[in-house]
Symmetry: C2
Subunit: 504 residues, 2 copies
């Protein structure tokens, strides 16, 4: 009974938090507590979070659990052996008619420290983006010194610890303003998304009692629109990849004594890679585009309203001639093939006069709705075979090498298919409308993100809608060195999370 | 007067050393002194000899000078600031009509110790070649335990300290047998050949009084024929190279958000490299073969007598289908283009889902007689330009990158042209005949080596004949880890040097 009264009181209080107020409440809060938010974030970013580094990834999980517990949330770790745990949290809302889950991943991409301007595990504060000439400055000591264009550089500053600090801060905003959650809230923080989410399916299947009540999944990941407008995204591309090594002689050979006679793996690989795409960037592999599922009417309409950013991107990224002839937003609706890496012998100071024995290419594949990851890799393999290659699964022995002029060792990567959620359901419409209260009317609605998340597990396996709710600036160097978050985006994230947890 | 009598006595003694005797004299000597020869060689190999390591390279020079002085040779160091010295020696021969110079280099390639089976600066003795299952054994303590298939593993064991110990031992053989040099002998030992012989030209020019009297240069370097037959070589290919970097967007991009739109440098580079050669390995760059100077009749005849080793090489090196359609020995008479290195992003465990910002290829070029190194690089550049590339010499700025869809940063390497000496001159014929006395009648006469040496300085700048007199086994892992010399080849080297210093 008592809790019912409390719920009514909270409900009446929360009623006060209508549309236009959330932005102001958060701004007021940050004017008082912005410095503490940044410092709390520094502490979170200082825990290295590569999924394969189990001791540190577990530290992240424990730390996040304790912070949310301190904010009053019921927390637990869902575990599987030798796997980063899921940090799970639950906020019940009296009289709620729906349950909203916030998915975030707390692991990050591996780092190559030599490529970073600063220690990736020590957050560094910049006056603005490095590429704009930003300089290292001290973390602000008073909230008034914090500017929207300031940036924090650190691994996972944007991808994907930013939504975690946003949610945590949103809870604090709600607490100091006496706002309660209006839906049941689930926090579902994954620890090996960047490593391929190998156990996500199992986690979902083994915790059905926690998972089944969820009506909609909000995926807090990915960047906002390149026009710098906020966006909601209703789908993702799928992702997979493969590595191909081709072979020359059985050992590196002196390029004088054997150059012109020895097969040159770098040359062979160049010819193989060149055969995969035409000069415009269209993939020439047979069947590569065959299974692409066409857009619905609402999706086409939304796509038509997406701000054109092609010229802006060309300027910013110094791209004189992009691949393909379609606009950027349409290119993302096609499966892609990109060369993630090439290696053979050495370049630069280490280059020597040898003909290397092997050359390797790492191929990235992005998939769209309708395209199966395994079939897509089959098509690439069939293409390689058609170029005259004998395909092997293990390093070929000397006899195999003597026998076949062209040998390709293919290692198929894991991955998952694309996913797309309808924009037309009532719950999708509610979320769109609530997001607009902090994002404004020109909120971009994107049928699909170019990037990938294992959304298919939710849309296809669990059969629930899944909407991506990104907060990071698009120029955050996600996955690369010098990853960063723009403070203005972090502040937007806090507003958005507060709004979504308190939506009518 | 006294020295004239001595010379006559020596001449009459040396007359005893006719053809068939040299082999026996050396064999007899080694049956008594083989162990000492190996031990002396160990001491020489223990001094690290990377040209850039000036203190150690100077130790090598001092040590070699002192050993040759001990053998009775007038020695001196020719020096230039901050450069390894030339170890120069001279043996006057009374009544001699010609002066023969023995060129050797005492520096070696840098080592990557992690790639070696043993310490590269500690000679290790093997029962036979590692690749044949040879095992580490103690250095023999009695000469009868030394077998021709034994090998010494150490940096420069073959390339190029082997001729130094051979010459030193040959002097001792001559001394104990009372043989005198029949030509004036010059020793000219270079200390930065593997680093590019940057000062060799200057050394030759600044020491004209020592250099001008030389009638023929014998280059003691490189391997014997792959058929394991001894050989003399009358030319070398020239060498040069270049590095080409192509550009995508101004920074690495997320392959999801930009894959299909961002230019992919690895793809562009593959297309560029693929355009340089056809599927058979023939270079498609316009004019690449235009300046090749045709072979003379004697060279063609010699080439016809070179043992075919194609099948043997294909087996040994596990090459099912070599480049080109001509036999191996003819392929070396063409200029070559090989991919020494490729790099873009990462492959293997470090591969990430990014579209890298650049891709780089290191191109090795080998040149033959008639082909100019600078012009050859010009042709490659012209080809790159023809593929639509805007060529730059420094990392392009953002404006340049915005303007040009295809940009290639080209760094041209140094290098030098090919050289070829006639087989038809009297002095060439004398040397061929003398070498046959220890090498046998099936001595291979090769118009050109596939590898490179700065022979053009001698043939073109000094206008003197230059003949390569190799002794090392061809499978010596030259320039790579686990470099080695086969004992049988070292013993052959001693015989050959003794024969050449005492030729009629």
């Amino acid at each position: 009974m008592r809790s019912k009264i409390l719920a009514l009181v909270l409900a009446s209080l929360s009623f006060a938090a209508h549309s236009q107020d959330i932005k102001k409440l958060v701004d007021d809060y940050l004017n008082l507590n912005g410095v503490q938010v940044l410092n709390r974030y520094r502490a979170l970013l200082a825990i290295p979070n590569v999924a394969s580094d189990l001791p540190n990834i577990t530290k992240n999980a424990d730390y996040i659990k304790s912070r949310f517990e301190a904010a009053g949330v019921e927390m637990k770790l869902l575990t599987l052996p030798d796997t980063p745990p899921i940090v799970y949290g639950y906020i019940p809302a009296e009289g709620a008619t729906k349950t909203i889950a916030f998915y975030v991943h707390y692991d990050g991409q591996p780092v190559d420290k030599s490529q970073w301007s600063n220690d990736p595990w020590q957050a560094t504060y910049y006056s603005e983006a490095m590429f704009n000439g930003g300089e290292v400055i001290d973390f602000p000591r008073v909230a008034q010194d914090i500017k929207p264009d300031h940036r924090i550089y650190a691994r996972s500053a944007s991808d994907d610890k930013a939504p975690i600090i946003s949610l945590l801060t949103a809870l604090d905003v709600m607490k100091v303003n006496g706002l309660a959650a209006t839906s049941n809230i689930v926090f579902f923080f994954e620890g090996e998304e960047e490593a391929g989410s190998a156990k996500l399916r199992q986690y979902l299947q083994e915790n059905r009692s926690l998972i089944d009540p969820i009506d909609v999944w909000l995926f807090c990941d990915g960047p906002t629109h390149q026009s710098r407008k906020p966006q909601l995204v209703f789908g993702v591309r799928g992702v997979t990849g493969m590595e191909v090594t081709v072979y020359g002689a059985s050992r590196p050979l002196h390029s004088g004594h054997y150059g012109n006679w020895a097969p040159v793996p770098g040359q062979m690989l160049a010819q193989l890679v060149a055969s995969m795409k035409d000069a415009e960037g269209n993939v020439l592999i047979e069947g590569f585009y065959d299974d692409v599922e066409p857009l619905k009417r609402s999706e086409k309409k939304a796509l038509g309203a997406v701000p054109a950013i092609d010229e802006q991107l060309k300027q910013e990224l110094a791209v004189a001639d992009p691949e393909g002839t379609e606009p950027y937003s349409e290119r993302l609706l096609l499966p892609s093939l990109t060369i993630r890496g090439l290696s053979s012998g050495n370049t630069g100071a280490l280059a020597r006069n040898v003909v290397p024995a092997t050359a390797t290419v790492s191929i990235g594949l992005r998939l769209v709705k309708g395209v199966d990851p395994e079939k897509q890799k089959d098509l690439v393999e069939a293409h390689i075979k058609k170029q005259g290659y004998h395909i092997v699964r293990e390093v070929p022995d000397i006899e195999t090498r003597r026998q076949y002029p062209k040998i390709a060792l293919i290692t198929r990567g894991g991955g998952y298919p694309a996913a797309r959620t309808s924009m037309d359901t009532p719950i999708a419409k509610s979320i769109i409308n609530r997001a607009k209260t902090v994002a404004g009317e020109d909120l971009v609605l994107l049928p699909t993100l170019g990037g990938s998340l294992p959304l298919y597990l939710f849309t296809d396996m669990l059969d629930k809608p899944a909407i991506i709710v990104p907060i990071a600036n698009y120029d955050n160097n996600q996955h690369a060195a010098d990853e960063n978050i723009r403070i203005g985006n972090l502040w937007y994230g806090i507003k958005l999370m507060t709004a979504l947890m308190t939506m009518e």
